[in-house]
Amino acid sequence: MNDTPLIELRDLSFSHAGEQTLAHISLSVAASEFIAIIGPSGCGKSTLLRLVSGLLMPSSGEVLVGGKPVTGPGLDRAMVFQDYSLFPWSNCQDNIVLALEQARPDLSRAERRQIADDYLAMVGLANCGRKLPGELSGGMRQRAAIARALAMNSPILLMDEPFGALDAITRARQQDMLLEIWQAGGSLKKTVLFVTHDVDEALILAGRVIVLGVCPGHVAADVPVDLPRPRSRGNSIASSQFRELRERLLHELDSAVARQLEAAQENQEGSGI
């Protein structure tokens, strides 16, 4: 087993417009790990993901992927946004084909189309290739976005609250689908960084949960989730181990929010004088 981490964050800090959002974050992610990043809103969890994706550059520290520092976005890291992972003017198939033209230029046109159809079928959208993203429901759109990310064959998947805008039932189904696809990867499982604000979602999916604290964002807790795999939403959520982990994460989040409120109050008092 190769023990150099696939993704490594070294003393990462990020400031924007004079305000520090992330401070001194260090984190190692091994290949095939599924990591969830949770934290109260405003803790910089999306910023952290954007730093790994290369859409943002750190103010200090560095992000290493496969041992090399990240200098910008790369096709080795496929991104799934909360919405808008697909361009609204192209149908689903064309969206995936465009991503494939970039990620796998060796393929022929026909092969790209075939792969796009295959992945759409895999996420249960077999007949939706010709549909525009706007003609699909929110859940279907996210499935198409996941199909696109998977088709690119990138070893790393970065997911920024991909199910955040969905209703509870759709969300549960998407989680099961993602688990199924990821677990089917065998020894070639993708490495996933999954940002969410939902504790249950983090525990159902991830093998490790990073809790971010606030003011500025920092790693408040790094919690391994030793629930047995293969998992599904149904067989995890009822176990006592799940409940204990959930209590612990909720506690961590609570104290992060409490600190955020204290800090906000101090700030107000400070400016009041």
């Binding site: 910008g72 609204p88 970039q102 525009l132």
Partner: protein, 263 residues
């Protein structure tokens, strides 16, 4: 009934209402005019010739009108196409380079509001042929609104589309044709729409100044002889041409921007 069928049915119903309603309005206006002229002679017969005069005049000068139409189109279409192409190209190039835009924007703001009609006498004096000077005037009338709206469209691109494009490492031609151009298309079409309307105005004004043929020339020429039956006939013909061109434009727009009402 699926949602698609429902939408289709609703669209068909709306179209029926529009066609029937508009026909009634048009017919009543024409009837009103006929009552005021042909039937009661309430209006001055020289300035307001009745339909009994206008329609035969139109029929008689159909070849002349058609020739005028061809002549006008020979001026309008190339100028329009060049204006749109130049406006979109400049808008994309400048819009994608924020520093160039900062430098050029004051110039654009200064030149954009100059009414092209004001330039007509000067253009005729400076440029060698009437066709060229009119073409330049129409070109300018289309170029500015298209340029400004394209610039606006590039500014209005959703940052998330850009993030997405960056994640896919789209660059150069692919970035332009797969992301920036389609994303800016709604604004571009708004600019082309106003440029198109402006181009009709400029076309007829330019033709009234010094053309030897064309739809604007036809109206101007017969107005000089006080043949108002022909003048009104020419105006009606011109309106029909404008309506036709606007319909074609609407069709194209609806097809290209299909995605915007599916969001």
């Amino acid at each position: 009934m699926t949602r698609k069928e429902f939408e289709l049915r609703q669209a068909r119903r709306d179209r029926r209402i529009a066609v029937i309603g508009a026909s009634i309005v048009f017919a009543s206006l024409i009837a009103l005019y006929a009552v005021l002229t042909d039937l009661t002679h309430a209006l001055d017969p020289v300035l307001f010739p009745g339909l009994g005069v206008i329609l035969p005049e139109m029929a008689a000068s159909a070849p002349e009108l058609f020739k005028g139409f061809l002549y006008s189109m020979r001026l309008l279409i190339p100028s329009l196409a060049a204006g749109i192409l130049a406006g979109v190209t400049c808008g994309l190039v400048v819009g994608m380079h924020p520093k160039v835009k900062l430098v050029l924007m004051p110039l654009f703001r200064a030149l954009n509001p100059v009414p092209p009609t004001m330039l007509i006498p000067y253009a005729i004096a400076v440029l060698p042929s009437f066709w060229l000077s009119s073409a330049v005037i129409i070109f300018l009338g289309v170029f500015w609104p298209v340029l400004m709206s394209t610039l606006h469209g590039v500014v209005m691109l959703e940052p998330r589309w850009i993030d997405n494009a960056r994640c896919l490492q789209l660059t150069g031609r692919k970035l332009v044709f797969k992301v920036i151009l389609p994303g800016a298309m709604p604004q571009i079409f708004a600019g082309v729409g106003s440029g198109l309307i402006f181009s009709f105005i400029l076309l007829t004004v330019a033709e009234m100044f010094g053309a030897k043929a064309g739809m604007g020339f036809y109206v101007q020429y017969y107005a000089d002889f006080a043949e108002y039956g022909k003048v009104l006939g020419g105006i009606i013909f011109l309106s029909a041409v404008v309506i036709l061109l606007m319909t074609v434009f609407d069709r194209i727009q609806r097809r290209v921007l299909y995605w915007t009402n599916k969001r």
